[in-house]
Symmetry: C2
Amino acid sequence: MNNIESLVQTPEPPVEEGAAPRSADWENPRVAAILAAAAKCFARKGFSATTLAEIGKELGLRKSIVHYYFASKAALIHEVQSFSYHKYLNRVKDAVAGNGTNRASRALTALWDAIQSNRTLAELNIEVWSAARRDEELKRRASALQREAEQLIFEGVQGDLRSMASDSGRREALSTLILAVLNGLSISQYLDNDETRARAAYDTFLSLLQPELKDLPSA
Amino acid sequence: MNNIESLVQTPEPPVEEGAAPRSADWENPRVAAILAAAAKCFARKGFSATTLAEIGKELGLRKSIVHYYFASKAALIHEVQSFSYHKYLNRVKDAVAGNGTNRASRALTALWDAIQSNRTLAELNIEVWSAARRDEELKRRASALQREAEQLIFEGVQGDLRSMASDSGRREALSTLILAVLNGLSISQYLDNDETRARAAYDTFLSLLQPELKDLPSA
């Protein structure tokens, strides 16, 4: 089907001049569906081997519709990481919501569980780190997302710090370290296909953190 | 220059029938030079954007000579990671050689220093993890190298374990964790261009390890 045909057969969606960038409207169910399908395809085959047509096919959508929301594959690549990462961080935020006890421990468990239940994000991250070496905008975004995740971890563990970790430099270093452990174990698990081994290493890490944090579960 | 010309002008190297695979002969200075140049190019531009001709150019060698040692770019990609990783592990082995004190602490410092002084390896690793998703042989090799590194860490810290870490399951988990921290902080440093931040996180990690290991330097 050529472009003219597909435009004729696809009256929706209307073109809104001067509207905010369509691709950033995650509240739009179709945008969200395209981003989720793109994450899956990119994680599976990588950025360069995936076409907009394939992403559309996952949803039974024509390429022209994908193209309507995302002007180029580059635009989709830039947005898909933010979208997937924010979904991940929101799950973690939900898990630590409220002022109950064990906030730090819940945050650390939620970070692990959320990445385990979403292997697409782990594989997408690897693709992003690699592509970021040749795409400055992607690198800038990836770096900003890391900072955001570290900030969330920082806030998640803040209330439960023992005196030892009460200076903010150490708290920042702990946040960087926690995110690095999650990223590093993602890679290890991906290469080994061995969740048990990665899980045992994470449990060991939590036990090492015990002197720093109140209320961590015993390993 | 076409292939026939370059063959005529390049009498060396002789073809040895039935010899061991030439590409694996790291003792051959030319093989080692090609692998080192390939690591640099691949880390900079990625596997797919790098040609054998470019790698040769780094050394002032014709493409046909690179081709003589490595039948294909795939063969070079498979070998370059093993080569670079073993150079890294050998530096770490040298640093912990002998039966002096502080073996674990020296091993942990050497692992960090060696990856800091060789950012090519850190970037090459990211490229390998990404490409491994589409190349089973590369993934198998990357996984084997991780195990080898973990084993080296395992042996490096073995003599200095306090009773708490003396069971081998926990030691194995610690080794997996240490390698994950190195990989994770590599990524964090790469995205942030911030060595100080990554270093502070590593120092914090070493301080958390203190109850497990004897003789670690205070952070």
